[in-house]
C-alpha cells in the first residue's frame, strides 16, 4: 500500500468513515421508518452533513463538550453517544438515552460531553460558553463546540455568546452549519452578510469558512481552531458549507428547492462518497475495508431499530420523576 498522504492514520481514517457511515445509515433508515408512521414527533435528518460533525469531533475527547441542535443525530453519533440508546430514544422507549422522555430533539449524554440536542435554536451557544468556562476553572484543557445552523446564526443568544466568549477568552468554537436553508428560507434571504467570517470579525473572533462536504478541509480547519482554543488562544468561528439531503423535517415536501437540487447534491456534494473516493484512490484504504465497515454499520442500525421497536416504553410513574434532584 502506498504512503498515507492524509493527516490521519489509517485507523483514524477508518474510524472517520465508520462514523460518517453510521450517521448516514442512521438517518436514511429513520427516513424509511418515519414514513411507516412508527416514529413519533419531529425528526430532522443530518444526512449530507456528516463530514462536519465527524471532522470536528475527531479532535475531541469526552472531556470536550458540545452543544447541539434540533438536527443533532450526527453530532451525537460523532461524539460517541450509543447508537442503540439514540434509536430507542427516538422511538420513545425506556431504553433510550433519555429514557424516552426527550426524543430526537433532546438526546444528550453528559458522560460523553454531549450536552444535548436542543429544540430552541441558538440556545446551545451560551451553554457551550458555560462548559468552556467550567473547563477554564477546572483546568482540564477541555474545549467546547457549539453547533448552529445558518438560520440560528441570526438568533440573539448566538450573537451575544460570540462576544462573551471573546471577552472571557473562552475555549469555545462556534460552528455554523450552513446548509443554505432554515426550514424553507434561504440563507441568502435571512442572513444579511455573505460570509460568517465577517460576522465573527465583528465580535473579535477569528473565523474560517470551509467546504463542509470535504472531510479533510473540515478536519484541518477544526484542528487549528480547536488547538488554538485548547492552548488558551480563545474562541473562533468555523463555517461549514454543505447540503442537507432531506427536507427540513420528515414530511417536508421541499418545494422550495430547485427541481434537481437533491439529486445534484447527492451526486456532487456527498461528503461520504468524496471521502471514500479519496482514501481509496490514494491507496490507503481498500474498497473491501470500506465495504466491511458498511456492512458492520448496516447491521448495527438494523439491530438498533429492531431493539428500539421491541423495547418497552417508560412506565407511567416516570411521568413525574426526574423533574428535580430533590423536591
Amino acid at each position: 500500500m502506498s504512503k498515507n498522504p492524509f493527516p490521519l492514520s489509517k485507523d483514524e481514517l477508518l474510524k472517520a468513515y465508520r462514523t460518517m457511515r453510521t450517521i448516514r445509515e442512521f438517518e436514511e433508515r429513520l427516513h424509511v421508518e418515519f414514513a411507516k408512521g412508527d416514529i413519533p414527533g419531529f425528526v430532522h435528518l443530518y444526512a449530507g452533513e456528516e463530514a462536519c460533525a465527524t471532522g470536528i469531533m475527531m479532535h475531541l475527547t469526552d472531556t470536550d463538550r458540545i452543544a447541539s441542535t434540533h438536527r443533532g443525530h450526527g453530532h451525537c453519533i460523532a461524539k460517541g453517544v450509543d447508537v442503540h440508546e439514540m434509536m430507542a430514544e427516538i422511538y420513545g422507549k425506556a431504553t433510550g438515552a433519555c429514557r424516552g422522555k426527550g426524543g430526537s430533539m433532546h438526546i444528550a449524554d453528559l458522560s460523553k460531553g454531549m450536552m444535548g440536542a436542543n429544540g430552541i435554536l441558538g440556545a446551545g451557544a451560551p451553554l457551550a460558553c458555560g462548559a468552556a468556562l467550567a473547563s477554564k476553572f477546572r483546568g482540564d484543557k477541555g474545549v467546547s463546540v457549539t453547533f448552529f445552523g445558518d438560520g440560528a446564526s441570526n438568533q440573539g443568544m448566538v450573537l451575544e455568546s460570540m462576544n462573551l466568549a471573546a471577552v472571557w477568552n473562552l475555549p469555545v468554537i462556534f460552528v455554523v452549519e450552513n446548509n443554505g436553508y432554515a426550514e424553507s428560507t434561504s440563507v441568502d434571504y435571512a442572513t444579511a452578510v455573505d460570509s460568517y467570517v465577517d460576522r465573527a470579525s465583528g465580535f473579535g473572533l477569528p473565523g474560517v469558512t470551509v467546504d463542509g462536504a470535504d472531510f479533510f478541509a473540515v478536519y484541518e480547519a477544526a484542528g487549528e481552531v480547536i488547538r488554538r482554543a485548547r492552548e488558551g488562544g480563545g474562541p473562533s468561528l468555523l463555517e461549514c458549507k454543505m447540503a442537507r439531503f432531506f427536507g427540513h423535517f420528515e414530511g417536508d415536501a421541499q418545494t422550495y428547492k430547485a427541481k434537481d437540487e437533491n439529486e445534484l447534491n447527492r451526486a456532487n456534494r456527498d461528503c461520504i462518497k468524496m471521502f471514500a473516493d479519496r482514501v481509496r484512490e490514494a491507496g490507503v484504504v481498500t474498497a473491501a475495508e470500506l465495504g466491511a465497515i458498511e456492512k458492520e454499520v448496516e447491521a448495527l442500525i438494523d439491530d438498533a431499530v429492531a431493539a428500539a421497536k421491541n423495547a418497552l416504553p417508560p412506565t407511567p410513574r416516570e411521568l413525574t420523576t426526574d423533574v428535580y434532584v430533590s423536591y
Binding site: 413519533p40 422522555k101 430533539m105 430552541i120 441558538g122 441570526n154 435571512a190 442572513t191 422550495y256
Partner: protein, 339 residues
C-alpha cells in the same frame, strides 16, 4: 353561509378577511410564506403547519418572512403597532416566547400604562400551544398562565374552529396586544363556520353544555375533553355544565360565578402546569367570590408539575383526560345524585 371547516382553515380565513378589510394588517413570521430567497416554489410553506398558506398570493408584500430572530421581529411587530399598523406576528410555538419575552413582558404589555395612556399597541402574537403532538418539552407547553399573569396583555385560547375565527378577527381589531394561543391538536378539529367575518367579543365565556350538578370550566383542547367527561357523567346521572372560557384575559367571571352559584360545584381543567395556573386562578376566585354557594371543594385537574415528556405513552397521561375530569367531578358531585 356556514360550512364545516377545520380550525386551521378558520384561522386562515380570519387572516384573509381582515387583510382584505384593513390594509394596515400585515403578517410576519418564520416561513409564513416560505421559500424566501430559495430557487423553488414561492409560498412554499405557508407556515410550519400551513396555516397561512395562500395568503401571500392574495396579499403580496404583506406577509413577511423573517430571519430566525424572534426578539427582533416580534419587537418590530410591536413597534409597528405603536405606529399605526395592525401586525399579526406568528411565533410558531409559544415555547419560543423564551427568546423574545422582554418585548412582550416589558414592552407591548406596558407601553400604554408607562406612557400615561398615550400609546396604543394593536399587535397580535399567534402561537401554537399544548401537548399531544409528540414534540417534547420545548414545543408543547401551554404557558397561558404566564401571559395571563401579565397586566396589559390579552390572552385568547379557542377550543374550536368557530371560536377561533371570531376571536382572531376580534384580536386583530382589538387595540390592545393579544396573545392568541392555538392548540396544535385542534388544527384539524372541524365545526360549522360562517364564511363571512364576525367578531367574538373578549371576556365572554360560552356555556357549551348546560347542567345543574357541577360546573366544569376549561379552555382550549381540554374543553373537548370536558365535553367527553360530561357525556360520561351523564351516564351516572350527573348533569355537568361545561364552560369554555375562550379568553383568559379578560376572563368572564360572571358566567363562571353564576354557574357555580347554581351548581354549587366546580371543576377547573387546565392543560397548563398546576402551580399559579388558570386552574388556581379560577378556583381561587370562585372560592373568594362564591364561597357560600360552594357545596364541595373546588377541584383542579391539570397537567402534572413536570415538563412535557416525549414518549407517547407518557404524553398521553400528561394532558388531563376525560376520565380524570369525570372522576374529579364525580368525587364532588355524586352525592348531588344521591340526594
Amino acid at each position: 353561509m356556514a360550512r364545516k371547516i377545520s380550525m386551521k382553515q378558520a384561522i386562515n380565513e380570519a387572516l384573509d378577511l381582515e387583510m382584505k378589510r384593513d390594509p394596515t394588517v400585515i403578517v410576519m413570521g418564520e416561513d409564513i410564506v416560505g421559500g424566501a430567497g430559495a430557487p423553488g416554489e414561492e409560498d412554499a410553506w405557508g407556515g410550519v403547519l400551513g396555516v397561512t398558506k395562500g395568503l401571500h398570493a392574495k396579499y403580496p408584500g404583506r406577509l413577511l418572512d423573517t430571519p430566525l430572530s424572534e426578539s427582533a421581529y416580534i419587537g418590530a411587530a410591536i413597534g409597528a403597532a405603536t405606529c399605526g399598523m395592525r401586525p399579526v406576528a406568528e411565533l410558531m410555538f409559544l415555547d419560543f416566547s423564551g427568546v423574545c419575552f422582554d418585548q412582550i413582558l416589558n414592552q407591548a404589555a406596558k407601553f400604554k400604562y408607562m406612557f400615561g395612556g398615550k400609546a396604543k399597541t394593536p399587535v397580535v402574537i399567534r402561537a401554537m400551544v399544548g401537548a399531544g403532538f409528540r414534540a417534547a418539552a420545548q414545543h408543547s407547553q401551554m404557558l397561558t398562565p404566564v401571559f395571563t399573569h401579565i397586566p396589559g396583555l390579552k390572552v385568547v385560547c379557542p377550543s374550536n374552529a368557530y371560536d377561533a375565527k371570531g376571536l382572531l378577527i376580534q384580536a386583530i381589531r382589538d387595540d390592545d396586544p393579544v396573545i392568541f394561543c392555538e392548540h396544535k391538536n385542534l388544527y384539524g378539529h372541524e365545526t360549522d363556520v360562517p364564511a363571512e367575518a364576525y367578531a367574538i367579543p373578549f371576556g365572554e365565556a360560552s356555556v357549551v353544555r348546560e347542567g345543574k350538578d357541577v360546573t366544569i370550566v376549561s379552555y382550549g383542547l381540554t374543553v373537548q375533553r370536558a365535553l367527553e367527561a360530561a357525556e360520561k357523567l351523564a351516564k351516572d346521572r350527573i348533569q355537568a355544565e361545561v364552560i369554555d372560557l375562550r379568553t383568559l384575559s379578560p376572563i368572564d367571571w360572571d358566567t363562571v360565578v353564576e354557574s357555580v352559584e347554581s351548581t354549587g360545584r366546580l371543576v377547573v381543567v387546565d392543560e397548563a402546569n398546576p402551580r399559579c395556573s388558570i386552574a388556581t386562578d379560577v378556583a381561587a376566585r370562585v372560592a373568594q367570590e362564591a364561597f357560600n354557594a360552594l357545596k364541595a371543594a373546588p377541584q383542579m385537574v391539570t397537567a402534572p408539575h413536570a415538563p412535557v415528556p416525549f414518549s407517547p405513552v407518557l404524553e398521553d397521561l400528561y394532558i388531563p383526560t376525560a376520565d380524570a375530569i369525570a372522576k374529579a367531578a364525580s368525587k364532588i358531585a355524586s352525592h348531588a345524585i344521591a340526594a
